[in-house]
Subunit: 225 residues, 2 copies
């Protein structure tokens, strides 16, 4: 019975997520669902991305957190429209939570919406929000065995940001082995080793994201970054 | 309806956890439920603890993971009886999973059972397993804002292992501020800043754990470590 109910919940979520996706497409807004463990560096990565992107693109942000508005306050400082969802202890965002806050954005004016999910490498990956891409932020300080131990999140993703590479010399992580493990789980992953703290390695990510934002028929890079 | 079902699930878990707890007390086994984010260093911390403890205490381990037996294999190398629970993607251990594997231990011969939960700072804290203490492993590489962002796990805990302090110089974390934040959430927390990699700061933790293992009427330290 519990399993049946879970299946019904997931079906219902898929329906809401499909509605969200239709709305995003109607307004030509690309949507990124940003996932990762607590402390992987999702907000710092988002800050770096927004600093580069908002010169040429109109971006909105939804911040998912259990209890605080700390991350939303950090994003608001960048002058980006941001809405906070507090899950009141809940371990993931779902399609209905996103639907509920969409009216707070002028979707027609946005080109990109980034949803920073609750810090959790397990639950959020099973709830479609209507996004175009799941992007996982993984810190090398978490150790090299995370992809094989938490495969589903990486299976569902389009890209993995391998963050905090400035800490690599102080860890036992072999970056090439980590990349191979990620690609053995999901050969289609785009991998971006970066240090948000040291502002290293971010350009290839900006270029990938820019390519996703290209409208049909538009030349790549016509917006610039 | 969903909320009612969740409540029933939690009530049922509490009943099973109470049965587990009764069984542990009957056999005078102390039980630690070890929590933390993916990559906080739970298994490394457990390895260090077992290396020190198993000279004088009989310890068993239950390893909770989504998909692999990697951690159980690390623990088995130390000659400690270990049982792996694979949650098949599930985000936490529950009382019934623990009950199911208890027959694989000779509980009467054990003094301590350590349950390493799934790497997740959200869900596991809401499922009682029958443990005496929840102990959270928190890596400083996760950043200093984790206690206020994920308060429930810290509210439920008896002790927090502030791990990877060898990385402190390469982070923005203020250790004293982090300790204050933890104590403002839960003034009863025991805090142990350690580096499992550098084998720093572990003695106060061993001493605290040893005090928990003392039998009624036994002098503290009579076992030694």
């Amino acid at each position: 019975m519990i399993i049946d109910l879970n299946r019904k919940m997931m079906e219902s979520n898929d329906t809401v997520a499909a509605d969200n996706r239709q709305k995003f497409r109607q307004h030509q807004v690309k949507v990124i669902n940003l996932l990762g463990s607590p402390g992987a560096g999702k907000t710092s990565f988002l800050e770096a991305t927004l600093a580069a992107l908002t010169r040429n693109y109109k971006v909105g942000v939804i911040e998912g957190d259990l209890a605080t508005a700390l991350d939303a306050e950090r994003i608001a400082k960048l002058g980006v429209p941001v809405v906070q969802i507090n899950t009141k202890g809940g371990c993931h965002l779902d399609g209905a939570m996103i639907r509920e806050v969409l009216s707070q954005f002028d979707l027609a004016s946005l080109e990109l919406l980034v949803i920073e999910n609750v810090g959790n490498l397990v639950c959020p990956s099973t709830f479609d929000l209507g996004e175009d891409h799941k992007v996982v932020v993984l810190s090398v300080a978490e150790g090299g065995d995370k992809p094989v131990k938490y495969p589903r999140t990486f299976l569902e993703a389009s890209a993995v940001i391998i963050n905090k590479i400035d800490l690599l010399p102080f860890t036992d992580v072999d970056l090439e082995a980590l990349k191979n493990d990620l690609l053995s789980i999901n050969p289609n992953l785009e991998l971006f080793p970066v240090s948000c703290r040291e502002k290293q390695g971010l350009t290839p990510w900006y270029e990938w994201l820019q390519a996703q934002l290209k409208l049909p028929g538009e030349e790549p890079g016509s917006h610039g970054l």
